[in-house]
């Protein structure tokens, strides 16, 4: 497993994050340092409210740290402006959420195609990619289905197809099995495992589920905003 690990894909340096509610400052993360090597499958665990989602959002460039730096594949993403950051996210990161977050009015196919609409791929190239991604998650026969017509596990697999369709190097997943039964959760974890091993995706995953964490190479614990 460890043979694929190379130089850091993600470097989190002295990152702190606090929120402001009125005049009160609420510290959420304090002086976090993590290096995630390429090819890593990292599980972030910790009690509710410990700052896992916050940290994941910082790594994925959805949010900005109060202080410190986040460097992904050599890019200091804190230095990108909003639109540059959005473009960067579109080409570098795949997102998987706890509640799938598919658009209900779009079919599985259209949902997976979404990130490709921001590229200049032709329609037929997009079609090929979408079909490939859906085949990979085992849903080639559900392309025309709407999210409502899919089970939770299937929805999450469509979401994973959407996350990988642009072929990003880094996948971030926030409790991807949190809303699923044991069997579906197992399938999702197998899928992520495969993406990591076969397709060499670096994965950072937040989870409460020890079984899910078993698939990871490394498990990091977060406790009250600090790495434990």
């Amino acid at each position: 497993m460890g043979e694929s690990i190379g130089r850091p894909m993600v470097e989190v340096r002295n990152v702190s994050k606090s929120y402001h509610r009125d005049s009160i400052e609420i510290p959420v993360l304090q002086q976090i340092n993590i290096a995630v090597p390429e090819g890593e499958f990292l599980a972030l665990m910790g009690p509710s409210g410990s700052g896992k989602t916050t940290l994941l959002n910082l790594i994925a460039g959805i949010d900005r740290p109060t202080s410190g730096e986040v460097i992904v594949q050599g890019t200091n993403i804190g230095q990108l402006n909003e639109s540059a950051l959005a473009r960067w996210r579109a080409s570098h990161i795949g997102f998987v959420f706890q509640f799938y977050n598919l658009l209900p009015v779009l079919t599985a196919f259209d949902n997976v195609e979404l990130p490709l609409l921001l590229t200049n791929l032709s329609k037929s190239e997009r079609r090929n990619r979408v079909e490939l991604a859906l085949k990979l998650v085992g849903l080639a026969d559900r392309m025309a289905h709407y999210p409502k017509q899919l089970s939770g596990g299937q929805e999450q697999r469509v979401a994973i197809a959407r996350a990988i369709v642009t072929d990003p190097t880094l996948l971030v997943a926030d409790e991807p099995t949190g809303d699923l039964d044991k069997v579906s959760a197992g399938e999702i974890m197998d899928l992520l495992d495969r993406l990591n091993k076969e397709f060499r995706k670096t994965i950072v995953m937040v989870t409460h589920d020890p079984r899910a964490a078993e698939k990871a190479h490394t498990v990091t614990h977060l406790e009250k905003g600090e790495l434990a």
């Binding site: 989602t53 916050t54 959002n57 994925a60 959805i62 949010d63 909003e82 639109s83 959005a86 473009r87 996210r89 579109a90 080409s91 997102f95 959420f97 977050n101 658009l103 209900p104 009015v105 779009l106 979404l114 990130p115 609409l117 921001l118 959407r162």
Partner: protein, 388 residues
């Protein structure tokens, strides 16, 4: 394009809500167009007034008569190219309670009156027949169609201002030159009226209602008016001379409080359109904040989000506005049919259409503005946490 595709899908997401909103806007736009049409129909006389005509009436009130003897003196004022006169007849035709029977009946100086009104188009033959017959009359084409008057028909009128039973034979039917020309009037000989008055009430003989004056040059009107009124300054019946436009305006402003309330109502309707639409758009946008956050996470920009919210708002506004405008025409038609003589000229004006369309489009933009701004300002991470 993706945004448009998603806009249409989102619009159909809550079909009932969207339909009700479109329906609400349509009703409001139709009401707006209808009210504006009433207002313009009301002031149609003003719009139709000629540039080169003036009216001389009694200085105290329009209903007080002027002596017939003023005609020659008015006609001789420099700058006056022609002069004629008319007299309101009133009277009752059939069932007075029916609005349809309330059409203007006017006694005119038959030799000259139609020369001053080129917008009343009448064949020379008919005009000659009319002039030759003592109790002949000419009616408007619209009035003739409504009442079924044909050439040769006798129209019986029960006099009130001028008592007695009157009968007029239709010898001519005039058409309007423009859409704004009133085709609901009936004209007959002032000479005939005067003859009968002489027999019944000699004291009222030789009086006319108002003079119509044609001037050579419109910019000469103030001087001509001043000269005429000056001439009769010390007479028993002083005069007030004004442009035909001003004269018509004074009728409209008699009912100006009604017009004002109608206009106020039309502004309220604009507010209603905005509220109906804003309510729906704010609601949809709030429900979809999380989806917008997901799209932003994936890499879509603020412009896409604004397009989604604004697009939905515009689609609903345009559909509602279009249906509302389409409803305005039958509504205006119904008004014209119900009060043919009260509103002789009912046109949905281009300006009304433009304003109604503009109001719908503007409502579409304004309704989308605040939700779009909120979606733009939304922190993506917070948006993902929000419960859709």
């Amino acid at each position: 394009m993706f945004v448009l595709n998603l806009v249409l899908k989102n619009t159909l997401r809550h079909k009932l809500r969207t339909l009700l909103t479109i329906f609400g806007i349509a009703i409001a736009v139709a009401a707006f167009g209808f009210i504006r049409t009433i207002v313009t129909a009301w002031s149609a006389g003003v719009e139709a007034s000629a540039q080169n005509r003036m009216i001389t009436r009694h200085a105290v009130s329009f209903i007080l008569p002027l002596p017939y003897s003023y005609l020659d003196r008015i006609a001789n004022v420099p700058g006056v190219s022609a002069a004629s006169f008319a007299n309101w007849f009133g009277g009752v035709y059939k069932d007075a309670a029916d609005f349809k029977n309330f059409f203007p009946r006017i006694a005119v100086e038959s030799d000259t009156y139609f020369d001053l009104y080129p917008e009343f188009i009448i064949s020379p033959d008919q005009l000659a027949l009319f002039k030759a017959e003592r109790n002949a009359c000419i009616v408007g084409a619209k009035l003739a169609a409504e009442q079924g008057f044909a050439l040769g028909d006798v129209i019986p009128i029960e006099g009130d201002i001028f008592p007695g039973r009157w009968e007029f034979t239709v010898r001519g039917i005039y058409r309007g030159r423009d859409r704004t020309t009133d085709e609901t009037q009936m004209f007959f000989h002032w000479k005939y009226l005067n003859e009968r008055i002489r027999e019944m009430q000699p004291a009222r003989e030789g009086m006319v209602g108002w003079y119509v004056i044609q001037v050579d040059r419109p910019d000469d009107m103030p001087r001509v008016g001043g000269e005429i009124d000056g001439m009769f300054e010390n007479s028993r019946a002083r005069t007030k001379t004004e442009t035909e436009r001003e004269f018509q305006q004074s009728f409209v402003s008699m009912s100006s409080s009604i017009i004002t309330s109608l206009k106020a109502a039309s502004y309220l309707i604009v507010g209603i359109i905005l509220l109906v639409l804003a309510n729906t758009i704010v609601m949809s946008a709030r429900e979809r904040m999380r989806e917008y956050a997901v799209l932003k996470t994936i890499g879509f920009s603020g412009i896409h989000i604004v397009g989604l919210i604004g697009g939905e708002s515009m689609v609903i506004a345009i559909l509602g506005g279009a249906i509302g405008l389409a409803l305005t025409f039958p509504a205006a038609g119904a008004l014209a049919a119900a009060f043919p003589t009260f509103f002789p000229i009912v046109n949905v004006e281009p300006l009304t259409i433009i304003i109604a369309a503009g109001v719908s489009l503007a409502a579409g933009l304004v309704a989308a503005m605040f939700p779009a701004m909120r979606a733009l300002r939304m922190n993506t991470a917070d948006g993902l946490r929000s419960v859709g």
